[in-house]
């Protein structure tokens, strides 16, 4: 794994005349994930519209927004659970148009799910081994007849599973059925399983949901560690503002399927558009105020001062969020 370890780089904020870089750092290095004018309609409902985002390798980006803003839908588009109605997605420079969820995972994107999706009846170890599926090299009959390659590859996979589980100190749970794990451990297992697929980009959908503050703090530390050790980019959806503001280099704010702001954590915290979105204005006012996202982006750029009043509002927004938080029953 050691060759994978890349030193965490200094954040270089470079202003680039591009509407989708978040934050606009590491310019010219190439983007590992790039979405242009992404959109999807469900019947009459436009769940996501004109979503533009660029993520550099080795960067942690937060995707936030009120309930039903379309965050999970963006993940479903990026991982091809849904095919987009509009726009393009480039993964490591490759257009993912027409790829299936399986193909796009092989191309380097892995995810966790808001409503946990583990293989409940299988053990923790087997869950991670399914993540390793494409790096285990033997065929069906080689497995049935237990040829030497079966033992060799299974041993390799077993060792790798324990190595990956040890990121979250879960190696001793390897033999337990995944469905019997406590909630927090299930979320961590999903991350481990996603990492096993050797992604270039890892998408985390509310990784801290249902965790207590100390668990969340530990998770935050681990997300940073994962980024550094694996040298991958991470895009995460999270309602816990401490976590988002604490570890993300860039943040995208989504509301009613559209990006209303992009910027660094301090820029976002102090952005009145974001604060308003979180305090929950009525829908009519919202759309009237919203404008297109470049405009919103400008607002972010100009509003860089950090007044205590705005920080306060940010906190209030967080609290309000928790109150009208729905139980995540759908993906």
């Amino acid at each position: 794994m050691s060759e994978n370890i890349k030193k965490r780089e200094e954040v270089k904020l470079v202003s680039v005349p591009s509407p989708y870089l978040v934050p606009e750092r590491n310019a010219g290095k190439g983007l590992v994930l790039e979405a242009n004018h992404l959109g999807i309609d469900f019947g009459g409902l436009t769940a996501v519209d004109d979503f533009n985002l660029g993520i550099s390798p080795n960067e942690i980006t937060g995707l936030i927004g009120p309930n039903g803003a379309g965050k999970t839908t963006v993940f479903n588009l990026l991982t091809k659970v849904y095919q987009q109605s509009r726009g393009t997605i480039f993964l490591d420079g490759k257009d993912t148009m027409g790829m299936s969820a399986t193909q796009v995972n092989k191309a380097g994107i892995a995810r966790t799910f808001q409503n946990i999706r583990l293989f409940d009846k299988l053990t923790v170890e087997d869950n991670v081994k399914i993540g390793l599926h494409n790096s285990i090299n033997y065929g069906m009959w080689q497995g049935v007849f237990r040829l030497p390659i079966y033992w060799k590859e299974e041993k390799k996979a077993h060792d790798r599973v324990l190595e990956l589980l040890s990121i979250f100190d879960m190696a001793d749970m390897a033999d337990m059925p995944a469905g019997s794990l406590p909630y927090g451990a299930q979320r961590r297992l999903e991350i481990v399983r996603a990492l096993a697929t050797e992604p270039k980009v890892l998408l985390l959908d509310e990784p801290a949901a249902g965790m207590n503050p100390s668990e969340t703090a530990e998770l935050m530390e681990n997300i940073g560690k994962i980024r550094d050790e694996f040298g991958i980019a991470i895009l995460l959806i999270e309602h816990d503002m401490n976590l988002v503001m604490g570890i993300c280099e860039g943040i995208v704010v989504l509301n009613f399927g559209k990006i209303i702001a992009k910027g660094t954590p301090s820029e976002i915290q102090n952005n009145p558009v974001v604060v308003e979105a979180y305090l929950g204005k009525s829908h009519d006012e919202e759309t009237a105020d919203q404008g297109d996202d470049t405009e919103a982006g400008k607002t972010v750029d100009t509003d860089k001062g950090g007044s205590s009043r705005n920080a306060d509002a940010g906190k209030k927004a967080d609290a309000g969020k928790g109150k009208n938080r729905k139980k995540g029953g759908r993906r």
Binding site: T102, E125, G131, I136, M140, G143, A194
Partner: protein, 351 residues
């Protein structure tokens, strides 16, 4: 590693169970404890065990519902019988011919499995149940008007009647439409049935505990998560389905070669459901349960002969009781509670 050894242990218990049953039945048969009709059931029981095991691969491990498993048995039975008769001069050693015929039965059924699996398993939802149901009926009807004969030039096929086979004088009709396959040389043996069960167990158990088996189980547990892990869904569904079809074909060939005649009607919807009942009663995904259920429920009607007219009624009651006892949580906890109560006083007495 601990987990692996637990699975391996379970597997060995299954092999041992089959071998022990073989020895017991062999002794019972030679000691004439079993009556003639019971002895005659030994090979069919082996075939039904293989059918139940193979269906469990689809229903239990792959999580798909198949309602036409008897269709694959039919393909295997007629395919195997035709090949056996065709090769009767070329391969004179009966056991060897049996092996070849069974392999051909498996091959034909696997081909049928690919034929229906490829279009259907790409779809999401329970289409497989509907299509396999139709498949079973279609195969029955095709076999009902299938005529196959052999003369010195080789095999002749026809879908109209016996005369249109256009055989030379001295040609033999192997399959005669609705009358089925005739004058079959009975070359199946109880031992070969047991070997087939062991091979089936070996393939399923080793498949389940391998990369492919994990992928199959993962797709069953959570399709979207499996896709997100880079597992090709259709490939592994097809793998489970075709492997299962091939095993059913092998069982069919063995079954066909146990009788002097077999008719297409034998492999109808009722047979498919019967096999599904074995799987459900034995416990979905539980191989040992499938073995036991197939044996008990195949032998039961014979054992219940003394009830005469009430035979099927008693059979139905037994089915319902077993269903309640194995699949009902309350009943299960009641039984385990009773067992504890019975055991507890003994322990106290010891102390």
């Amino acid at each position: 590693m601990k987990k692996l050894s637990k699975n391996t242990l379970n597997g060995f218990i299954n092999y041992a169970l089959v071998v022990v049953l073989f020895i017991v039945f062999q002794i019972l048969a030679s000691a004439k404890v079993l009556n003639n009709s019971m002895t005659g059931l030994l090979i069919p029981i082996c075939c039904y065990v293989v059918m139940a095991l193979s269906l469990n691969l689809v229903v239990g491990f792959s999580g798909e519902l198949s309602l036409g498993h008897a269709g694959f048995m039919s393909v295997g039975a007629f395919g195997g019988v035709v090949m056996s008769t065709y090769l009767s001069n070329a391969i004179t050693i009966a056991p060897l011919r049996l092996v070849v015929a069974v392999m051909f039965g498996a091959l034909f059924a696997a081909a049928a499995g690919v034929l229906i699996g490829v279009p259907v398993l790409r779809l999401r939802g329970d289409y497989l149940a509907i299509v396999t149901l139709a498949f079973g009926e279609i195969i029955k009807n095709i076999m009902n008007c299938m005529y196959i004969g052999r003369d010195s030039k080789g095999l002749h096929f026809s879908l109209t009647d016996e005369a249109s086979l256009n055989m030379e004088a001295g040609g033999v009709t192997i399959v005669n439409g609705p009358m089925g396959a005739l004058k079959i040389a009975k070359i199946s043996t109880f031992a070969s049935g047991i070997v087939l069960i062991l091979i089936t167990l070996f393939i399923i158990q080793n498949l389940v505990n391998s990369r492919a088996g994990r992928a199959i189980a993962g797709i069953r547990d959570n399709r979207i998560a499996a896709e997100a892990c880079g597992v090709p869904i259709t490939k592994y569904k097809l793998m489970a389905f075709v492997t299962s079809a091939a095993m059913a074909g092998a069982a069919g060939a063995l079954y066909g070669l146990n009788y002097s005649t077999i008719v297409p009607k034998k492999f109808d919807f009722n047979t498919s459901i019967l096999i599904l009942v074995f799987v459900v009663l034995g416990g979905i995904g539980n191989l040992r349960g499938s073995i036991i259920a197939a044996i008990v429920l195949t032998a039961l009607p014979e054992a219940l002969r003394q009830f005469q007219d009430y035979r099927m009624l008693v059979y139905a009651i037994v089915l319902i009781l077993v269903m309640i006892l194995t699949n009902n949580e309350k009943a299960a906890s009641f039984i385990s509670g009773m067992v504890k109560k019975i055991k507890a006083p003994k322990k106290e007495a010891k102390a």
